[in-house]
């Protein structure tokens, strides 16, 4: 009776733990986990995942054996104070040698593929799976957003890294300020970025989609809001995106009614680089909207936005401290991969960025609702 009661009482926690494990595993397989390391979508991450799963299997075997032996011993050797003293064994050299050698062998089984994978992932492949040379991308971490530059294409963008599927991406990474860590779990492991040295990472996306990434090294106040997206495009989509970025620099006016220069801002307008003053718009734009857009463009200059931001992907001026806004109208998120890029969120941001993401570097004069709407309309044209 006593034994039964003890058995029931002691199996309760075990049962609870088993239930918990089931819930966890079920939770892991169901639902969406777009940032998971367990569903690799690139060659680098696949190599790492294969190695990791090896360790998981081995660890599970070791876990079952050792915890099993422990639980068995606890149940088997329960004693009462009145029991005679057990045999006073001090050790057993043979047994001790065996259980030193077995872990060593298990570790050797892990060590060999570990070193192989370390070397396999260390070097950027010289050719992509699609036969092209890897595409260079410069990554620059900022407190708290990511800047991406394509030196071969001359494009600069922020917080949304577009890559063509099948082409190896050769990342050369630095930080503008403190240490950050660049992490897109479905493509590769983390790599820290430093202000004073270049670090390297590479990956090849195997499937199209939007993949969230995050800063993984604590970098100050808004470390929790330093996310980004990798957009793995088909080569065609990527070509379109590239063309759009390049189009941002074209000087040709495209049907936009020329904004009437206001006397007090005319001088400032003169100083504005031509590229930022041109907006590519469809010919069929609603005239009311077109006026609003024109106003927004005006405000972008007069309210000081252009002091830190440019919407030109191609000829970013040096010293642009804010994120490049080329294509901001069609990005999926704002505020570094966090807020969905809706008009509503964009307005919230423009009204008071500090209220949305405290500590962010953006300083903006107070704006009226009309002004914010105009700015949003203008930014939406940046596709």
């Amino acid at each position: 009776m006593r034994l039964l009661r003890i058995a029931r009482w002691r199996t309760l926690p075990l049962a609870l733990m088993a239930v918990m494990l089931l819930v966890l595993v079920a939770g892991c397989t169901s639902g969406t986990h777009p940032q998971s390391t367990l569903a690799p979508k690139g060659d680098y991450a696949e190599m790492v995942d294969g190695l990791f799963m090896k360790t998981v299997y081995l660890a599970t075997i070791v876990f079952v054996i050792v915890e099993g032996a422990l639980l068995f011993a606890i149940f088997k050797f329960r004693g009462k104070p009145t029991d005679p003293a057990p045999e006073q064994s001090h050790g057993n050299t043979l047994v001790e040698i065996i259980w030193t050698v077995i872990p060593a062998v298990v570790l050797a089984i892990v060590a060999v593929p570990t070193v192989q994978t370390i070397f396999a992932t260390a070097k950027v492949p010289t050719t992509s799976t699609d036969g092209q040379t890897p595409m260079k991308v410069e990554v620059i971490g900022h407190q708290w957003w990511w800047e991406f530059r394509y030196p071969e294409l001359g494009i600069t963008t922020a917080n949304e890294l577009h890559v063509p599927v099948g082409r190896t991406i050769d990342l050369r990474m630095k930080s503008f300020d403190v240490i950050h860590s660049f992490w897109i779990p479905q493509f590769a492991g983390k790599r820290d970025v430093f202000p004073n040295r270049e670090t390297r990472l590479w990956f090849t996306a195997k499937a199209t989609g939007a993949y969230p990434g995050a800063c993984a090294e604590f970098c100050g106040l808004q470390h929790g809001r330093m996310d980004f997206y990798v957009m793995a495009d088909t080569p065609e989509q990527f070509a379109t995106w590239t063309a759009n970025r390049m189009a941002d620099t074209m000087l040709a006016a495209t049907g936009l009614p020329k904004p009437a220069p206001k006397p007090d801002t005319a001088a400032a307008n003169g100083a504005v680089p031509a590229a930022a003053a041109v907006v590519a718009l469809p010919d069929t734009m609603d005239p009311a909207l077109a006026t609003q857009v024109a106003e927004g463009m005006q405000l972008f200059q007069t309210k000081g936005c252009i002091g830190c931001h440019t919407s030109s992907a191609m000829s970013p001026m040096k010293g642009m401290v804010g994120p490049n806004l080329s294509g901001i109208g069609s990005r999926s998120h704002i505020a570094a991969g966090w807020l969905p890029n809706t008009d509503e969120n964009l307005k919230r941001w423009l009204h008071d960025p500090q209220a949305v993401k405290k500590g962010v570097g953006m300083i903006i004069p107070p704006l009226t609702d009309v002004e914010v709407n105009a700015l949003v309309a203008y930014l939406r044209t940046k596709r």
């Binding site: 876990f63 001090h90 060590a111 370390i118 820290d192 990472l201 470390h223």
Partner: protein, 619 residues
């Protein structure tokens, strides 16, 4: 009562107030209790911080605490648990039990020991005082440059951290010198090194780690302080320094620190398992050598904390393999513990359950540790919640479970009272379930891509379930420790009637009354074997020795109380606070530093010329 007349401690207490007695004590047992009480309060503060953190992370986009407050909370949680809870809780056991276990009347340097405690306490209070100024450290317990530099952390926050850790480092180094010397020099006749109880061995190894690793962090902190206070450029790239240097220095200290936190736990468990299995520790010498080997290798694996910095394939391979090597001696320890209970007659009392829980949980932390040693896989795991899960399995599932086991085991010896078994078992099961509910799901959160140290997370990434479970578990852990507190209060009200040897102990502390008298041993007990008390019982042919009598202690000279350790500690605190001071308290005069330096020097001078038993009771 007759005892009050006979016991010199009590006779002495009549002349000095209780507060003065505790402020000036140099008795290693009292200092141990001071360490334990302060560390437990800091542990509760750190736990409270954890509960706020868990509540904030309960749901996505939560705004319970601001990002600034969150960063302060997790920084202080880590710093508190490591430096103000686990290390000093171990120090409680070093202080109270190392002299008893080696059959000594005191530690080698009683006043240094007192100073070590006061420096620790003042350092801990200083660190936590930062909350009152709204400027608690906010750069992580690892304080990575350049985020900890004046440029990126201009406020007092990181000053508190740098200076607080400097102060605490002095306490650890002083304790390290003291316990190393005590163990080497003060053992009772016949207790050779290979007859020492395992806890003493692990303490000795821990002190070696402290003495070799704390100078590294001390130097690193001086460099960081110089960068912050005097504008030097050790870690600033603009001035020719390198942030990477900080990482190397920090982890050369930081990894041995991990073993400083866990080796005492190994020792405690190695004492408890044999007693409650009624059979000696399995493979004593293997345990000694594996512990030493772990400590030795612990200095050669620091860069496994830095795989993501991109050190290159050769360095990654070296540190991967070196880290894997550590799994071998650690495995030997686990197998030897299982070997100890194998074939025993297990007395499943609360301390034993906690010790067994320690083994079960530490195995899991060890296995995830091996996963981290696989450098490419670690690139996915590092700085994610998988790491948070891992180190809580070794630090909480390991250290805290073992320290709790030690508390239940040695409580009767420290306070003369048995803790309640029923409440103890409730505590154990709540803690085991709460612990696993909190930290097991974090493995999954991390593998599913949740980074560490984020004050919130967006919905849509699938992190919710794991965080809800962890939060529920954290509160269960809180309840578990409430049960412990209830247990302490309840049994405190009962009579102090614990026998000298309630568990049929194997070691010398159980040969003397509970609690021990000030001089511990009326006469030194020569030993001829490991497990000296078991040997004595076998020689006497009894299962329990007769209850030891309280004796007068006449003729036994114990060091007298002293104010100077406390004075020196206060001087050290003031000296370091001086480095936080801005103009007009700063350059060129730095009056606060000078004042602190003067007090420290004066205190050391007076201490040096104070006769060892100046205020000791006369016999």
């Amino acid at each position: 009562m007759a005892t009050t007349v006979l016991d010199p401690t009590h006779a002495h207490a009549a002349k000095r107030s209780v507060i003065v007695e505790w402020l000036t004590t140099v008795d290693h047992k009292k200092i141990g209790i001071l360490y334990g009480a302060s560390a437990f309060i800091f542990f509760l503060i750190g736990g409270l911080e954890a509960l706020i953190i868990r509540t904030q992370l309960m749901k996505p986009d939560n705004t319970l605490v601001s990002p600034e407050m969150y960063n302060q909370l997790f920084t202080m949680h880590g710093t508190t648990m490591i430096f103000l809870a686990v290390m000093p809780l171990s120090a409680m056991f070093f202080n109270f039990f190392v002299p008893l276990l080696i059959g000594a009347r005191d530690v080698a340097f009683p006043r240094l020991n007192a100073m070590s405690f006061w420096v620790f306490l003042l350092g801990g209070l200083f660190l936590n005082a930062s909350f009152l100024m709204g400027a608690a450290p906010n750069g992580g317990w690892f304080g990575y440059a350049p985020l900890s530099s004046r440029q990126f952390a201009g406020g007092l926050n990181m000053d508190f951290w740098v200076i607080g850790l400097q102060i605490l480092g002095i306490a650890s180094l002083a304790a390290g010198v003291n316990f190393f010397t005590t163990i080497i020099n003060m053992r009772t006749p016949g207790m050779t090194l290979m007859r020492m109880p395992m806890f003493v061995w692990m303490t000795l190894i821990t002190q070696v780690l402290v003495l070799l690793s704390f100078p590294v962090i001390t130097v690193a902190l001086i460099m960081l302080m110089a960068d912050r206070t005097f504008g030097s450029s050790f870690f600033s790239w603009a001035g020719g320094g390198d942030p990477m240097l900080w990482q190397h220095l920090f982890w050369v200290f930081g990894h041995p620190e991990v073993y400083i936190l866990i080796l005492p736990a190994f020792g405690i468990v190695s004492e408890i398992l044999p007693v409650f299995s009624r059979k000696p520790l399995f493979g004593y010498s293997a345990m000694v050598f594996s512990g030493s080997f772990i400590a030795f290798l612990g200095f050669g694996v620091w860069s496994h904390h830095m795989f993501s910095t991109g050190m290159g394939p050769l360095a990654d391979s070296f540190f991967s393999l070196a880290t894997m090597l550590i799994a071998i001696p650690t495995g030997v320890k686990i197998f030897n513990w299982i070997g100890t209970i194998w074939g025993g007659s297990l007395q499943l009392k609360t301390p034993m359950w906690f010790a067994l829980g320690f083994i079960a949980m530490f195995i899991m932390g060890g296995l995830s540790g091996v996963m981290h040693s696989v450098a490419p896989a670690d690139l996915q795991q590092t700085d994610s919640y998988f790491v948070v899960a891992h180190f809580h399995y070794v630090l909480f599932g390991g250290s805290i479970f073992a320290l709790t086991a030690g508390a239940y085991y040695w409580w009767p010896k420290m306070f003369g009272r048995m803790l309640d078994e029923k409440l103890g078992m409730t505590h154990f099961w709540l803690m085991l379930i709460g612990f696993n509910l909190t930290f097991f799901p974090m493995h999954f959160a991390g593998l599913l891509g949740m980074p560490r140290r984020i004050y919130t997370y967006p919905s849509g990434l699938g992190f919710e379930l794991y965080n809800q479970m962890a939060t529920a578990g954290a509160f269960l852990l809180g309840v578990a420790f409430l049960v412990f507190i209830v247990n302490v209060i309840k049994t405190w009200r009962g009579p102090a009637d614990a026998p000298a040897d309630p568990w049929n102990g194997a070691t010398l502390e159980w040969a003397i009354p509970s609690p021990p008298q000030e001089f511990n041993f009326p006469a030194l007990i020569p030993v001829h074997e490991k497990d000296a008390l078991w040997q004595m019982k076998r020689d006497a042919g009894v299962s329990r020795l007769p209850e030891p009598e309280l004796v007068s202690g006449k003729g036994i000279h114990m060091p007298g109380p002293s104010w100077w350790p406390l004075v020196v500690a206060v001087g050290i605190l003031i000296f370091f606070i001086g480095f936080m001071m801005k103009d007009p308290w700063a350059f060129p005069f730095r009056p606060v530093n000078i004042l602190g330096f003067a007090i420290t020097t004066f205190g050391i001078f007076k201490w040096a010329y104070e006769a060892p038993d100046a205020h000791a009771p006369q016999h």
